[in-house]
């Protein structure tokens, strides 16, 4: 506080009640909010107008009547419904498994006393610093050897539980579950699995849900690994299906943006319901570092 010997005495009289948020602040926020959603709107505008309309100066800024036609075009190039189903299956399985195994291991790391705990958690964090593509070639070999090439299993199995999830759950359980509660439960004779099931899980269910959401989103949006291990159209995920549109035509913007919009719309819909939870999740994770 020693830095604050400033001679502007008049300002001290201003009471906080009269401090209003500057109009410029709202303007900046509104600008950022506009920039945040504009690309989604633009996707729809281009997709619903067709490429010709976009190549005008100035371009059309409102949605046109051709969206359904673009949707039909997308379906004629890739089996998009199948892709959506595949993506949903992979996303849900990965999300559920991530939550389950991460919470289990996170609980052990946060609250149980066992030999080697400190070393193991340091080890987990250390590996999080390593670039993920470092092991991608052997992982590809492994998946091929296991006979999982061109199956959804190739996407699911390596993602069942990750160091990030375990670390995140450890931080959450450490912060949210009071030791006194666990001790009381164990004095009452509850076994460790019982404590986990009846005490820990109910407390952390909100955060566990958020972890599940993030896993789902990450799986939904991943495209490099699915692009490497999937080859037949009936196994494509939504992102791979979208990237096929680019390969099929020479830069048909309406078609590409139509596909992009169709692959994004389910997430936007989901976001309307869970956006606030995600915000809380990001901010919780932040405080825990």
């Amino acid at each position: 506080m020693t830095v604050l010997k400033l001679p502007t005495l008049g300002a001290a009289k201003r009471s906080p009640k009269h401090q209003r948020l500057n109009k410029i602040a709202y303007l900046l926020l509104a600008l950022m909010a506009f920039l945040s959603v504009f690309p989604f709107y633009w996707m729809f505008v281009v997709a619903s107008n067709g490429s010709d309309e976009i190549s005008k100066i100035p371009p059309t800024l409102i949605p046109g009547p051709r969206f359904l036609k673009v949707v039909a075009d997308v379906y004629s190039v890739v089996p998009f419904n199948q892709a959506l189903i595949n993506t949903a299956i992979v996303g849900i399985v990965v999300a559920v498994s991530q939550v389950l195994f991460s919470a289990l291991a996170g609980f052990a790391f946060a609250k149980l006393s066992f030999r080697g705990r400190k070393f193991m958690i340091l080890f987990v964090i250390g590996t999080m610093m390593l670039p993920s593509q470092l092991g991608i070639i052997p992982l590809f070999m492994l998946i091929s050897k296991a006979g999982w090439f061109d199956t959804l299993t190739a996407l699911i199995v390596p993602a069942l539980v990750t160091a990030f999830g375990v670390f995140w759950m450890r931080q959450i359980i450490d912060a949210q579950v009071p030791n006194e509660l666990l001790e009381a439960a164990s004095i009452d004779g509850a076994s460790v699995p019982r404590v986990y099931w009846s005490v820990v899980l109910p407390i952390i269910r909100q955060s566990a849900f958020v972890l599940g959401l993030f896993s789902f989103l990450a799986t939904w949006n991943d495209f490099l690994w699915p692009g490497l291990v999937l080859s037949s159209p009936q196994n494509f995920t939504a992102q791979i299906a979208v990237s096929q549109l680019k390969a099929s035509y020479v830069l048909d913007y309406a078609l590409n943006m139509g596909g992009a919009f169709m692959a994004t719309a389910p997430l936007l819909l989901l976001f309307i319901f869970v956006g606030r939870k995600l915000v809380t999740g990001v901010m919780d994770g932040a405080v825990k570092g």
Binding site: L4, L104, S113, P131, F223
Partner: protein, 335 residues
């Protein structure tokens, strides 16, 4: 690494000594010291069972591939030559260091990283400072809408931004035209393509990071602001002398996480260019993109594995430099 340290019982509660999470300091000292060893009454072998699924999966799909990758890096490994791989010692690494494509990729990666990281920090901290205000109306709405960019796939976004940055009909060029700036072929130029990619990254992460900064700003005790106000500090002075010093650990954290991610950037350039070479003159080829190109276009697995090892070394070096620089700068701020 220091993230673990914060859960230790405080060694005297000094705020400046704890990395990453100073805002927890007052609460920490009241926590029982035995916490760090787990709860005494909850012990035994359950922990091994509970962590087993993770460790088994991690060993098979995380650690083993990394170790095997290091092994492959010393071979002239060709996936088509089944089972008969030639050991070539350090040749892959020697070749890499004289491979101009590697240096181009390294330069591009660092350029894109710098262009996306620093503007992003300014925008995120600025946004967080606005969001922090108690007088802000519709706080939840603003917070939520700023997170929207983060939930979408890079593929979808690259398609949109590719069009927006287009040479002839892109909206960015149209807006630049209003100011009398001639059309730029963003994708073809080196710096301009980096600007396009950095814009995509910034767009995606600025709101997310703003929430992280907001969380740690909300944890700054009100008394600090109150006494600053009594001393007559303006809003700007409060921001400079109260908020920023309190954020130093979060800034370090966001910078390091951003660096680890930023040095591995590939999704944006890959989808913007549509191929793994990173543009017609490799103008936006990045290190990771180069790795994938060698591995899955050229089938040079040994060479690609060597690239992976060099990326790891670079990530670790830059993270360390980052860490020490921000520590030093932040340390001076608080004195």
């Amino acid at each position: 690494m220091s993230a673990v340290v914060e859960s230790k019982p405080s060694k005297g509660g000094g705020v400046s000594k704890r990395p990453l999470t100073p805002w927890k300091a007052p609460k920490q000292s009241t926590v029982k010291p035995r916490k760090v060893n787990g709860i005494g009454s909850l012990n035994g072998n359950w922990a091994y069972l509970f962590t087993a699924p993770f460790f088994v999966m991690f060993l098979i799909f995380g650690l083993a591939p990394i170790i095997y990758s290091t092994y492959i890096a010393f071979f002239n490994w060709d996936p088509l030559a089944m089972g008969d791989q030639q050991f070539n010692g350090l040749e892959n690494f020697q070749n890499l260091l004289t491979d101009s494509r590697f240096w181009i990729a390294l330069g591009n990666t660092l350029d894109i990283w710098a262009m996306s990281t620093f503007p992003q920090m300014v925008i995120s901290i600025g946004l967080a400072a606005i969001l922090r205000s108690k007088f802000l109306k519709g706080a939840t709405f603003w917070r939520t809408i700023l997170l929207v960019p983060n939930i979408t796939s890079v593929i979808a976004i690259a398609i949109v931004f590719g069009q927006l940055f287009g040479r002839d009909f892109g909206m960015v060029n149209m807006v630049l035209g209003w100011f009398g700036i001639p059309h730029v072929d963003f994708i073809e130029g080196t710096t301009s393509s980096h600007i396009a990619i950095a814009t995509m990254i910034t767009w995606r992460w600025a709101g997310y990071n703003a929430l992280i900064f907001l969380a740690s700003m909300l944890a700054i005790p009100d008394e600090l602001y109150e006494s600053a106000q009594l001393d007559g500090a303006s809003a700007w002075q409060q921001f400079i002398y109260v908020t920023l010093p309190q954020l130093k650990n979060t800034i370090t954290f966001v910078l390091i996480v951003g660096t680890i991610g930023g040095l591995q950037v590939f999704a944006e350039p890959l989808t913007l260019g549509g191929s793994m070479d990173g543009g017609s003159s490799r103008q936006f080829s990045t290190l990771t993109l180069f790795l994938y190109e060698q591995a899955f276009v050229n089938n040079k697995w040994g060479y690609a594995a060597a690239v992976g090892i060099l990326i790891t070394v670079i990530v670790l070096i830059v993270s360390l430099i980052n860490f020490f620089i921000t520590r030093r700068l932040a340390g001076e701020d608080t004195k």
